[in-house]
């Protein structure tokens, strides 16, 4: 199991931080690093116990630990890591609930672009308020509470959806 962990770790690290890796794709450049933290006492890396550290530097910026990134940069780094794991072991579906809430337009585009790469292997179910993400979808479901307190599914086309997720005229199912 130690060797197995090591193999997976190396694969994910390459998927994430490599030259063609997810981090550079999502940030349009820059650099990232994932490494196991050496043990305080021995200074050695222990494949079975050591924790994982992530260092990221968006294009043109100095390397920083995750906490020093902005809200949007953190989200993009997390998505890059998720997609790197996905690449090493795809799951039949991926369920994302308002992952794009902190992103600006340019980053939403790149987020959709990354999902695009996996459509031949998996499918995505995405809850969002962002119109740009909705435009990327093949199909939209609206959830409303016409009857207070009771959720109902309605069919929705893109032109019925307001700027921030409101469903204007409901198309009955």
């Amino acid at each position: 199991s130690r060797d197995r962990f090591r193999d997976v770790f190396e694969t994910i690290r390459e998927n994430f931080a490599g030259d063609q890796g997810m981090f550079r794709k999502l940030f349009g450049g820059g650099n990232a690093e994932i490494r196991l933290m050496p043990n305080d006492g021995t200074g050695e890396v222990d494949w079975l116990e050591s924790g994982v550290e992530i260092i990221a530097s968006p294009p043109g910026k100095r390397p920083r630990s995750i906490n020093q990134l902005s809200g949007g940069e953190k989200t993009m780094t997390a998505v890059a890591l998720l997609m790197s794991i996905f690449e090493s072991k795809v799951s039949p579906f991926c369920l994302l609930d308002e992952v794009d809430a902190a992103l600006d337009d340019a980053n939403v585009e790149r987020f959709c672009g990354i999902m695009q790469e996996f459509l031949d292997r998996s499918h995505f179910i995405v809850v969002t308020h962002n119109r740009r993400t909705m435009q990327f979808a093949d199909r939209l479901y609206g959830v409303t509470m016409q009857e207070r307190g009771v959720s109902k599914r309605v069919s929705v086309s893109l032109d019925q959806v307001g700027d921030n997720g409101e469903i204007r005229a409901t198309g009955d199912d």
Binding site: S1, F5, D7, V8, F9, M37, S50, G51, V52, I54, I66, K74, T75, A78, L81, L82, I85, F86, S88, K89, V90, S91, P92, F93, C94, L95, L96, D97, E98, V99, M115, L119, H123, F124, I125, V126, V127, T128, H129, T133, M134, F136, A137, D138, R139, L140, Y141, G142, V143, T144, M145, E147, G149, V150, S151, R153, V156, G165, E166, I167
Partner: protein
């Protein structure tokens, strides 16, 4: 193997039977605040065996049963079903050592195990049916059940069914609202578990 459909009935705010089919590559769920979008994510985690009420944003598990509204009485039961397509593989898969170990163990309790782990695997899920329905139910009186293709099962069977597929209640492929950064911000040791899960 694809997740083709989810059916909710009496789960949280979904008082009536509601189906969401996922025939497309990307399906978006939209709607105003508080209407029930994240309840669908909770429903999928719940049927895959989630045991912590807190991680379903509830105080206790009974809170997942429709609690009534201004115009409706509470439901007596909550049920969620996931429907997976399980087509024949082009080339059958040899059983791994793990498969053999599990299939030896599960015959002990005499259950006519639905899941066939030993022998060649002809489909992505170790069940020889074209469609696999996984259901979880909870009754007001506290009784609860898991069902695979309408036959009674246990949580262990659900876990065994999805072993090594990347599908699970706390799999990395389900990101809850507000938790996208959680993978990064956890401590280095917690971060490690995500890598272990993928191993």
């Amino acid at each position: 193997m694809r997740l083709a459909k989810v059916t909710l009935c009496g789960f949280k705010s979904f008082a009536d039977r509601t189906e969401f089919t996922f025939d497309d590559a990307v399906t978006c769920v939209v709607g105003p605040n508080g209407c029930g979008k994240s309840n669908i994510v909770d429903a999928i985690k719940w049927v895959l065996g989630e045991r912590s009420a807190k991680s379903l944003r509830s105080k206790e598990m009974a809170d997942v049963i429709f609690a009534g509204s201004a115009g409706r009485a509470p439901s007596g039961m909550s049920s969620v079903t996931l429907t997976f397509e399980n087509p024949l593989l082009e080339k059958p898969i040899e059983p791994t050592a793990e498969d053999e170990a599990i299939s030896d163990g599960s015959d002990d309790d005499g259950g006519d195990s639905l899941i066939q782990r030993s022998g060649l695997r002809r489909r992505p899920l170790p069940i020889d049916t074209e469609i696999v329905d996984v259901e979880r139910r909870l009754y007001r009186d506290g009784g609860s059940q898991y069902l695979i293709n309408n036959k009674k099962a246990r949580l262990r069977d659900i876990r065994e069914l999805f072993l090594d597929t990347g599908v699970g209640a706390d799999a990395y492929s389900i990101i809850e609202q507000g938790k996208v950064d959680a993978m990064l911000l956890s401590s280095p040791v917690e971060r490690r578990t995500v890598f272990e899960e993928a191993a």
